[in-house]
């Protein structure tokens, strides 16, 4: 590792992504609603008809990403009136292009599923339930994509922090999305007075949070070996791990052992999971932009020992 790298008067060597907090919020909501659709669809297909309320809530929750997602993305364009150029071509080398199509498919089929569910809930006669059941399958597939393509979007750049650990960042984003969906749906279940499936959703969230923490640990190892790690990064990621990982896990565990009396703790765990997911996306975006603006980090990252072995 080449330490003490000379810089050009400390002038930045890279330009940070011109993304505002809106993008981090989109990344979070895309994961939340995409994973909700996936969870709802699996609950509908494999739940044996016992999870109707969960399915309904999951379908409505996925409308958040469907409705707000595109608005947020268009807001962050610097020439928003040309948003439709996103679908002008398809480019497999660009996660921004891949994601535009994932979002389009997700939006169309989630809207169909949620719309049909809405009409069905109003007891209007028609094949609404079956429209939802069919449309939910492509929506759920695209929902899986919505949960993780945003990691590919950040990783496929020259921004040191994002580029240093592409695979583990995707695992982190995916598991954080599943945890958020589990937490949000569990809250919906408990706050509406249902007492059936909160525990199952808690279990899903606990599994997802554990995977997320493990992936975070492995990505930090990548950051260290690739020279994009310092005191500032350590402080940021330790707080993120604590807030969005260890705190909800502890609350879930306590809530589980207290049984019925632990309901408030389980709710607090769900809330911490949701807040932690958003905090993780914000931290990833801002810490990434800071790593691009710091010439020591970017020049240290762009050293031959960090090249993929096949291409060095």
């Amino acid at each position: 590792m080449a330490d003490n790298i000379q810089t050009y008067y400390d002038h930045p060597q890279l330009k940070p992504a011109p993304f505002s907090w809106i993008v981090a919020l989109y990344v979070y909501l895309a994961g939340l609603s995409g994973s909700s659709q996936m969870v709802a669809t699996i609950a509908d297909l494999f739940g044996g008809g016992r999870l109707r309320s969960l399915v309904r809530r999951g379908r409505y929750l996925s409308l958040v990403g469907t409705v707000i997602g595109p608005v947020l993305l268009i807001m962050d364009l610097h020439t928003p009136q040309r948003f439709y150029n996103m679908l002008r071509i398809f480019k497999a080398t660009s996660p921004m292009s891949i994601g535009s199509y994932i979002l389009s498919v997700f939006s169309v089929f989630s809207a169909l599923t949620g719309g049909a569910q809405f009409i069905f809930d109003r007891a209007i006669r028609g094949p609404w339930r079956w429209i939802a059941r069919i449309a939910q399958v492509p929506a759920a597939g695209a929902g899986g994509g919505m949960s993780v393509y945003t990691a590919s979007l950040l990783a496929s750049t020259s921004t040191p922090l994002w580029a240093a650990s592409p695979g583990w960042m995707a695992v982190r984003f995916g598991s954080s999305s599943v945890a958020s969906a589990g937490a949000a749906l569990a809250l919906g279940e408990r706050w509406s007075g249902g007492r059936g499936y909160g525990r199952k959703l808690d279990a899903l969230a606990v599994a997802a949070l554990s995977v997320e923490l493990y992936a975070a640990h492995l990505s930090q190892r990548d950051y260290q070996t690739k020279g994009v790690w310092g005191d500032r990064e350590a402080a940021v990621w330790d707080s993120i791990d604590a807030l969005g990982g260890y705190l909800p896990l502890a609350l879930y565990t306590a809530g589980f052992f207290l049984g019925r009396r632990g309901r408030t703790l389980s709710e607090a765990a769900s809330l911490a999971t949701l807040v932690g997911g958003l905090a993780m996306r914000l931290a990833m975006q801002y810490a990434g932009q800071a790593s691009a603006s710091d010439p020591r980090t970017s020049l240290r990252f762009a050293q031959p020992e960090n090249l993929p072995r096949a291409q060095s």
Binding site: Q13, R50, N85, S94
Partner: protein, 302 residues
């Protein structure tokens, strides 16, 4: 450089119309679609006059940046931006490492000067990242943003491993050096290369530039500048990580980092599949877990 025989056809000092294939007279190369063109920037010839910066701004009608002094050397430009497509870097070698230099290296005394520019990468990460197709490869093998297509998503900005392309917040589009696409179409040498008084910036066909650059390195080695090397030619620093080669390449005499250049840049699109596939595998795993969880719910719930 010898004077082209066709130059005798134009003895006037003022012209009423453009000279046909003018680049033949000024750069010794005819510009034809389908061939690869680029810049060879020989930093040992740079005198830091910034004529390239001015010519670029003039021809491309680019606005002035902040008019002020940076307080760091003679470089008051700072770096490339949406409205600055050539940038002359100044590195003073005196006083580096705590002590004063007591001897002068051949060429440039103790100043390093380099006119930086968009590298027009062979596998350009900005182009590969662009979701609208606004960025494209021209018939001259250069990389250009189509201003009437760009919607200002800004994804090309972090994709560039050299920190070149940027979004102008005034017009909301991405901008960078076009290698004077409009001039090439008219048979003119790019403005910066034409204005360069020392031929530090040379425009030409890439193969010819590679040949000329290799010769120049040998010549410099012979003259005692053993530190001279190429940046951005196939297999050299700057052409790493799947970029293959840079159509705008450089002759340097110090470490790339000294000029604010990355030693081993990478092609961002190589990370698309690893990240996407590991993400989708994660989701597949959670889908299986959810199936087990909910199928269990239906059995136990009854």
């Amino acid at each position: 450089m010898q004077i082209h025989p066709r130059a005798r056809e134009y003895p006037d000092s003022q012209f009423s119309r453009p000279i046909r294939d003018e680049s033949e007279l000024t750069a010794g190369v005819k510009i034809e679609p389908g061939k690869s063109y680029g810049f060879f920037t020989d930093t040992t010839r740079c005198i830091g006059c910034k004529a390239c910066e001015v010519a670029c701004k003039e021809w491309n009608a680019l606005p002035a940046d902040s008019v002020g002094l940076t307080g760091m050397s003679y470089d008051n430009t700072g770096g490339l931006s949406a409205s600055t497509w050539r940038h002359v870097a100044f590195i003073e070698k005196i006083g580096h490492g705590g002590g004063r230099a007591t001897e002068m290296a051949p060429y440039q005394s103790n100043w390093l000067m380099m006119s930086d520019v968009c590298k027009h990468c062979h596998n350009a990460p900005c182009l590969e990242a662009c979701p609208t197709g606004a960025l494209f490869k021209t018939e001259f093998d250069t990389v250009v943003v189509q201003q009437d297509v760009c919607n200002g998503c800004g994804y090309c900005v972090p994709a560039c491993p050299f920190g070149v392309i940027d979004v102008n917040l005034d017009d909301g589009k991405a901008h960078k050096c076009t290698l004077c696409y409009d001039r090439l179409k008219g048979g003119f040498e790019p403005a910066c290369a034409k204005s360069c008084p020392t031929d530090s910036i040379q425009f030409g066909e890439l193969a010819e530039l590679h040949r000329r650059a290799a010769e120049r390195v040998q010549e410099l080695h012979r003259l005692g500048v053993e530190s001279a090397y190429l940046y951005g030619t196939p297999g050299a620093p700057g052409a790493t990580g799947g970029l293959e080669y840079l159509n705008a390449f450089f002759l340097l005499t110090d470490a790339p980092e000294v000029y604010n250049l990355p030693r081993a840049p990478t092609r961002a699109s190589n990370r698309v599949m690893p990240s996407l596939l590991s993400g989708l595998a994660t989701m597949a795993g959670f889908a299986v877990a959810a199936v087990a969880l909910f199928a269990g719910a239906s059995r136990n719930g009854r």
